[in-house]
Amino acid sequence: MDQLELLKQNWKKREQEYPNLSYDQIYDMLFKKSTSIVKWIFIISVLELLFWSGLYFITPKDSFEVIEKLGMKTFMIVFNVIHYIIVLIFIYYFYKNYVSIKVTENTKTLMERILSTRRTVRYFVIYNVAAFATTLIVINYFYYTKSDVLMQALDETYGIVPDDPQFLTIFLISQIVVGVILILLLLLFYRLVYGILLRKLKKNYKELERIEM
């Protein structure tokens, strides 16, 4: 290809046309903040880890009382212990993947490391949503089968005596609606944040993979 060869021959000669930054200008840059996507992925991932592992702590105490009265205490304790072991395993893998991201790797490896760090957090969130949904289903099943105990517990804890026969149905439906809305919001968040952050990386990674096919 003659024109490309022509450009190659002229390539070196053109170097003087580029801006020439002084020592001080370069020195100042060392203290500027990075805007790299890895930094953003790290920040968002840590927030996600904190959010999902912190959910337990923002559950109102009253709810635990109701749960206790329904005889689900053992279930909840076992569930939480397993849950936190899994959370720790996820955090370990996230950290391990994150520190393996090095800009000095070759392009393909670098992209793979970033994607696998992301994948860890994605699985973490999927796990949490699944755990959340399971808890919701199990608790509501208990509520449903032990509705008289539930009514009593609600009365003792909150001092409300629901006399509407429709109460239980409304109660269950609203729990499900809130659950579904939460999951939808989460999916939307995912599409927006990671769509923007990882679009370019994924496109380029596919391009690199195509070369190897």
Binding site: L30, T35, W40, T104, L197, N204
Partner: protein, 164 residues
């Protein structure tokens, strides 16, 4: 970080800054974006510098970090629209040295390269920098054979862009 480390880094980067400028020019379309990317590459180089062993040349090492930043880490700021003004102004060449036909051909070729996708650009860039296929393959993480095949396909692509 010690002062000597800073000094050694800045001196070497100052000497080799053209490599970074060339990458910035290829991957951005205006002066602001160019400066942004230059800064990001500088930060990434600096962060990786303590682990730079000196077993490879500083410039060789810069290709990898520079391209990785441009292709993978750098995110173009959404606030700026893509403009091509910068390119057309600053790529004006010391015109008297070359005759016009050569000039036009170079210009068209460079513009064609800029239309390629990020990965193809990286291959062409390393090729223009006179890197062999082994080095190109190592930088991108592909095999040497595939780098060669890919380069031939890119040449084909460039031909199509130039002669639609």
């Amino acid at each position: 970080m010690s002062k000597e480390l800073e000094h050694s880094f800045v001196t070497q980067l100052e000497e080799n800054q053209n490599i970074v400028h060339k990458i910035c020019r290829l991957y951005t379309n205006d002066a602001d974006a160019h400066n942004d990317l230059f800064q990001e590459i500088t930060i990434q180089l600096w962060k990786a510098f303590p682990k730079f062993r000196g077993d490879s040349k500083f410039s060789t090492w810069m290709y990898r970090v520079g391209l990785n930043t441009a292709i993978t880490l750098y995110r173009k700021s959404k606030r700026r629209p893509d403009t091509h003004d910068f390119e057309s102004v600053s790529f004006k060449i010391t015109a008297d040295e070359y005759d016009d036909t050569v000039e036009v051909q170079l210009r068209l070729m460079y513009d064609a390269v800029k239309q390629l996708n990020d990965i193809d650009k990286a291959l062409v860039f390393l090729y223009l920098e006179d890197k062999n296929y082994r080095e190109i393959a190592d930088t991108l993480g592909i095999t040497e054979v595939n780098a060669r095949v890919k380069m031939n396909r890119i040449k084909e692509k460039l031909r199509t862009i130039l002669n639609p």
